[in-house]
């Protein structure tokens, strides 16, 4: 059976999957692993976490993807109960024809429901809808010491808040009850605006965040001097008139691991310049399908292989509103100076809505995400500088993307971690959790 890696393929710690087909298989699988000398494991969905939060300390994971059944769906109320291995992609295919869409979606649809809950993912509508966990009505979880248990905001709320964003530590999530959101069409009315610099981005954010459910910006982090902070601002709303169609399945596939990273200073500069100039007009308004609006990268399957065998790291931080503008600018400058950026730097104004999750990542402030080809020393030097800036400003890093955060920074940025540790299932342990707590 092929072994599994995380999305960034770094750290390279291949995982052996043990497939779980039914909820009642969970505890026997954990017991069998324990009997074989692997006292801990971890639920593994699509492996879309970038760093080591989806990797088990033991190297043995429970593969959840076959557990993907819809257990109940009420198309009047939009409440769906499904097994945790169902992907958001499948859920859209099932729910959209009935006029329902995800209340919150990350930038890829190839994640499982369980993964979306465990990482309390967010999307372009964070300023309006908050995180994924806000729309979860109930969770069904298997714990090695108590068997099957359920939790929600009202039933065992402590356990619920430790599990939402809890990185899979509190038990194996086997079913998720979620409230979907109504849509009239499958299209998004998109507004794409080119901007020349940071100040303009913050202007655009202020102007559009109240009138647009979805907002995000792409920034060219290699541009310096006058052009520093140039990019595209993209805002959208669900279109009220148009088709209600599913996007076609398929797309291109990255067929091989290139011997070296295709993402380097030369290709980056060319790409970013082309991308910035892709639209000649200052502002373009158009209706686009949900797939191209939310999931542009999903069209090149396994795009992570572009970074070659050594993989890459994503650096995603959020900085509180007070210092958001200045610190983000400084962080971008620092990255620009280092010359090792990414072809997609994403800037997002996060909103004030809080999550039930104790370890939920977003804060009211500015979130920045960039990919870096894995180069041990270069990344380490740069990240050390960036981490200091982010933490000094009261910001934090996103565990779902992380492969480097220090235990000190984690504990400082996520002070509630001890509550999650107290509720941790002793048979579950990720490499990430071990790294930042032990």
């Amino acid at each position: 059976m092929s072994q599994l890696l995380s999305w960034g393929r770094y750290p390279r710690r291949p995982q052996i999957p043990h497939s779980v087909n039914w909820p009642e298989d969970v505890l026997p699988s954990l017991a069998a692993l324990a009997a074989a000398g692997h006292s801990t494991s971890l639920a593994f969905g699509c492996g879309r976490s970038y760093g080591d939060s989806c990797l088990a300390d033991s190297g043995h994971v429970l593969a959840m993807q076959n557990m993907d059944r819809v257990l109940a769906a009420d198309w009047e109320s939009g409440v769906v109960i499904a097994q945790a291995g169902l992907t958001l992609s499948e859920l859209i295919r099932i729910a959209l024809p009935h006029g329902w869409f995800l209340p919150v979606t990350p930038g890829t649809k190839f994640v499982t429901l369980g993964g979306a809950v465990a990482n309390d993912v967010h999307g372009k509508n964070h300023h309006v809808m908050g995180t994924f966990g806000r729309h979860v009505r109930q969770l069904t979880i298997y714990r090695s010491n108590e068997g099957v248990t359920q939790c929600s905001l009202t039933h065992r709320p402590d356990f619920f808040s430790a599990t939402v964003g809890g990185l899979g530590m509190t038990g194996v999530i086997v079913a998720v009850e979620i409230q979907l959101r109504r849509v009239a069409t499958s299209e998004i009315e998109q507004r794409s605006i080119r901007f020349g610099g940071f100040d303009e981005f913050f202007e655009l954010s202020r102007e559009h965040d109240s009138s647009h459910e979805y907002t995000v910006a792409w920034v060219d982090c290699l541009a310096s001097g006058k052009q520093a902070g140039r990019g595209h601002y993209i805002a959208g709303n669900h279109a009220q008139e148009g088709a209600l169609d599913l996007a076609p399945i398929g797309g291109l596939q990255m067929p091989i691991d290139p011997p070296f990273s295709l993402v380097n200073a030369l290709s980056l500069r060319a790409f970013n310049t082309l991308y910035y100039h892709r639209q000649m007009k200052k502002k373009v308004v158009s209706n686009v399908g949900y797939d191209s609006f939310f999931y542009p990268l999903d069209r090149l399957q396994q795009w992570n292989r572009m970074y070659g065998r050594s993989g890459f790291q994503q650096y995603q931080c959020v900085v509180p509103q007070e210092n958001g503008r200045e610190v983000t600018r400084d962080v971008m400058r620092q990255i620009s100076k280092s010359g090792s950026g990414s072809f997609l730097a994403v800037l997002k104004q996060c909103g004030k809505l809080t999550s039930p999750g104790l370890l939920s990542f977003p804060l009211h402030g500015v979130s920045l995400a960039l990919d870096f080809p894995q180069r041990d020393q270069v990344n380490e030097r740069l990240f050390t500088k960036l981490d200091a800036m982010v933490h000094e400003a009261g910001g934090r890093l996103y565990p779902a993307k992380d492969a480097h955060m220090s235990a000190v920074h984690f504990k400082q940025a996520y002070p509630m971690w001890e509550k999650v540790e107290a509720l941790r299932d002793s048979h579950l342990l990720s490499l990430f959790w071990k790294r930042v707590t032990q």
Binding site: M1, R69, V70
Partner: protein, 247 residues
Amino acid sequence: MNQNVLIIGATSGIAEAVARHFAEQGARLFLVARNSEKLQAISADLVARGALEVATFVMNANETDRIPQMTDAAWKVHGTIDVALVAHGTLPDQQRTETNIAYAIAEFRTNAESVIACLAALAQRMEPQGKGVLAVIGSVAGDRGRPGNYLYGAAKAALDTYASGLRARLFKSGVHVLIIKPGFVATAMTVDLNLPARLTATPDRVACDIQLAIAKRRDVLYTPWFWYWIMLIIRWIPAAIFKRMKL
């Protein structure tokens, strides 16, 4: 075209994937399996995915005297059956079959006799209909006995021969018989095997092939396709050489 589809062994990985494909086309389903809880979960899922109607019947196919009750119920619910798929089976522990004869016989019974009993009962019902496809899951293992799994292979070979005869018998009536020979498929049945990743297909991939083969009324389906060529070579190896090989 809303088809009526009957599936025996509906909780097996391949059967569930096939059922989803039919559900997405708005089929009416009749699902048969041993475990009623799993049947309920799968039914709910298939309804959410677009099935017009899902009825279930709890039965252990080894209790062959219950098969007529099952077919009665299916035809009562749906009137006619357009597609019947017999998909139940187990993967015996070959080494255990070599020393435990009772176990070997029981496994052969599950994988050959009970399947033949289902095929026979379904054929009786489908022949007077004068239409429909009767599909059964065989295996590439049935093409030639290998030391690693020849009890399983022998049971699947029995199905192959039975299906061939049944196909010819029913041809005049308009009922078509398809035997499906999957290679390695990642399902609950094979979860403990260390299958080579490059040769292992997902149940969904196999289900796509099966649905197409049913629609095109193919006689024999190797899935994924490359198994046809692999088995062609394996069948042609002279016995004098084959017996010396570790397969």
